[in-house]
Amino acid sequence: MRFKDVFSIIGPAMTGPSSSHTAGAVRLARVARHWLGAQPDRARMTLYGSFADTYKGHGTDLALIAGLLNYDTDDHRIPDAEQWAEQAGMTVEFAVNGLPAPHPNTVRFELWKGEDQRTLLGSSIGGGSIHVQQLNEFRVNLTGELPTLVLLHSDKPGTLGAITSALGAAHINIAYMHVDRKGRDGEALTAIETDSSAPAELIAELRSLPHMYEIKMINLKKGAESDAV
């Protein structure tokens, strides 16, 4: 079943005018912010396909800025997101790209916070639903529907086992898991979608595992703020 429950049909509550171009854009940008783990100082968003063609009229640009500010899909500040970003000291720029993209409504984020730079590639696939395809050029397959742990580590034997054991011991059920690496023995990324949020102690435990570089938590639940992780 593509649509899982009643609230994927009735809902979300959102700021108009388009669930694909507005609500989906907010959610993609929120995932990007959580992936950075903080509000970016600077953001550059490249739009593809229908996003590139009609983003002005649909307020897709405002929706993307709003998501970077961690606003939810129905936040009344979305139409004035440009001003709020300025007030928050966040510089944003938009570019359009005519190249073919994985989906007609696709956006690529480049985010900067101090020295830290991140990228995300994702699409808005209809009714406010999203599909995140890349985090820092690592392939993933995320919907943002479930709390998601993103772990950057080195590609060493036993690392995945240690991660899943720690989750199991904390009674956190893994719904979906995606692993990609830059090369053998190189940097690897594991994204784990879970049925419930990981508590702080579990994240601390995961962080102390050998070969672990960093952990980010993506959680699009209303009002959720993952910057502290």
């Binding site: 593509r2 049909i9 209809g126």
Partner: protein
Amino acid sequence: MRFSHLHEISALCAEESTTIGRLMIQEQVQETNTTEEEIFRQMSDYYEVMKEAVHRGQTQDTVSRSGLTGGDGKRLAEYLRAGETCSGDASALAMAYALSVSEVNASMGRIVATPTAGSCGVIPGVFISAQERFGWDDEHMVHGLFAAGAIGYVIANNSFISGAEGGCQAEIGSAIGMAAGAMVELRGGTPEQAVHAVGLALKNTLGLICDPVAGLVEIPCIVRNGLGAVTALAAADMALAGVRSAIPSDEVIDVMLEVGSAMPSKHRETAKGGLAQTPTGKRLTESLTRNTSIKKNKS
């Protein structure tokens, strides 16, 4: 969920002597492992957002961001108050409210996607005008939203709900089918009658293309929401009177899938065909592009 087709919904309701709305709540509890109270509260919050949108569209100026549309919901309500509607007061009020919600959507106001933002006016238009007319309480209306959700769930999973995928028959059509079935249930009709209402309504939207001018959710989307609300009321009346959908409603949903899949991409929200490519459609698109580039040069 224990159902994936409409005939399964009416069979389950008959076996368990329940309504579509109550069945949907029960299934949602099971599926998401949350409490009935929590689920009911979520849907009640959505109904509040719908009522606020109607109110905003009826009392405030809702000019869209493009400047192409706005004010028709109020215009229609004024015309209704002046008397002498052609389609009857119930239809005119449902239309006025549906236009208002769609206009709030186009002005970047707050709405609920039912099932999408492009079709967000139909259900509030039908529900809120009917609530005023029949004096139902909010709890009754929220049950109706669950019934609408169950119908939409079947349509979405067996066909489509977005114009980009299946044309406007999928987007506005789904909303009309959902509103028609739910209205039957709100009026005390049987689940079987509600299911017939869905088929009767969908038959009248089959083949409807998605052709938004300049790609924006405004022309013809807003007007189609208003007309859609009236179709939903009419289909509900037919079903309550005992009219049956001679082609079973599940088969009508399958036809929507067949027709939508066969639609060329120019008629699926790309703005490359239909009303978007009429001389006026093109002129409006060009004038918007020109304004945007003027703004760009200034900044």
